[in-house]
């Protein structure tokens, strides 16, 4: 079984590189000089970049990142260990036995590997980008029986406008707006956060001090805080569900990255904080009045 060790910066490169060595007892200078970037051990060497160099103690962000990078080594170690088992062991007359053994190994190791991957992703300082961007329509429907309203995203070329019955509900088309949906993906760790329950976003206009959305923006008065509401499909929240915490966290991190004004802050909150859908004066970010995509 290979081991890993975190070593100090290599003097012949810059002060900002840290190298992880998966095999022990190899001098750094020899390994780096003879095997990096090409060489048989290339898949055993992992490079990581830290702005503080080897002085993790002066920059907490790099400490957190280093922890994530270290724990991310474990799946590689496990995979390397599996590769070492001779292929012949899994072939020939004992193929069934070999497959069973391999399956058993992964059955035992997989939870640990998944746990390590989760820990690595949890330690990552995510850099979110939009992914799976699709254009379509935000369709609003109302039930004349219960007076409830729902919304959904349709990616059809023409938005559906038919009336239909669904259980006790009689849904009628109220409006549709051109909109786009997206998910978020971290460029660093690859984690994807689906935002399928997010129908649109809305800027809070601070119309009602008793509203939970208004209060969410009143807590940080030293900064230029703007509250945006992530709207889900069912304004009644009859199922008790709204935007997921994971989605909200990712949206907040995404929209708060890269501001030129350090005092500016965006807070994204779920729509179940709204006091009233009917009296809300928020501005929905949707293209009003456009009915055709092409």
């Amino acid at each position: 079984m290979t081991t890993r060790s975190q070593l100090a910066n290599f003097k012949k490169t810059t002060d900002f590189f840290k190298f992880f060595i998966v095999k022990r007892n190899f001098p750094i200078a020899f390994l780096l000089y003879h095997t990096v970037p090409a060489g048989t051990s290339k898949d055993r060497v992992k490079f990581a970049y830290y702005e503080c160099g080897h002085r993790m103690d002066v920059r907490k962000a790099d400490l957190i990142k280093a922890k994530g990078d270290l724990t991310g080594i474990y799946p590689l170690v496990a995979a390397a260990a599996v590769k070492k088992i001779p292929a012949a062991f899994f072939e020939g007359p004992s193929l069934f036995f070999g497959v069973a053994l391999r399956s058993f190994f992964w059955y035992i190791m997989r939870p640990e590997i998944l746990k390590m991957k989760t820990m690595a992703k949890a330690a990552c300082q995510h850099k979110w980008v939009m992914t799976n961007i699709r254009s379509g329509y935000l369709v609003i429907e109302g039930c004349f029986h219960c007076r409830n309203r729902i919304s959904f995203f349709s990616d059809e070329p023409v938005p559906p406008i038919d009336d239909y019955q669904e259980g006790e509900h009689f849904w009628s088309h109220l409006a549709d707006y051109q909109a786009s949906k997206f998910d978020l993906k971290c460029e660093r760790c690859g984690q994807e956060v689906p935002l399928k329950e997010v129908m649109a976003t809305m800027l809070c206009m601070r119309c009602n001090p008793e509203c939970g959305v208004y209060q969410a923006g009143s807590q940080d008065r030293d900064r230029k805080t703007w509250v945006y509401v992530a709207l889900c499909a069912n304004t009644s929240h009859a199922t008790g569900q709204c935007i997921t915490n994971e989605g909200l966290r990712a949206l907040n991190e995404y929209f708060n990255s890269g501001f030129q004004d350090p005092a500016k802050k965006i807070i994204v909150v779920p729509c179940d904080l709204r006091k009233s859908v009917d009296t809300c004066q928020g501005i929905v970010l949707a293209d009003v009045g456009l009915t055709e995509m092409y």
Binding site: Q178, F182, L203, W226, V284, L285, A286, V288
Partner: protein, 108 residues
Amino acid sequence: MKVSEVVAKADLRSFNEAGDKDIKGVYISDMVSDIIGIKEGNLLVTLQTHKNLIAAANLVDVAAVVFSRGKTPAEDVIALASKAGIRLLGYDGDTWTLAKKLYESGVR
């Protein structure tokens, strides 16, 4: 390049005096659903003067908004943009001519 530099070079009209941010690029679009995905620091060129455009521009932290073809935003739109620190500018010509002028002014 700062917004104030572009205003002078491209001879743009100013509706408010909010902020002087760095321009990192230009984005031309008239649809709010399209603007949500752009990166921060863009100079947004548009025909749409609706308030929800300012809401979207604030979310993605644009450097400024230029309304082409002589479009003029309403007072409440200007007030919202000023509160958000977004400079609103105007240009009388069409979007294509404005785009060429911005490029010739050095905006990349």
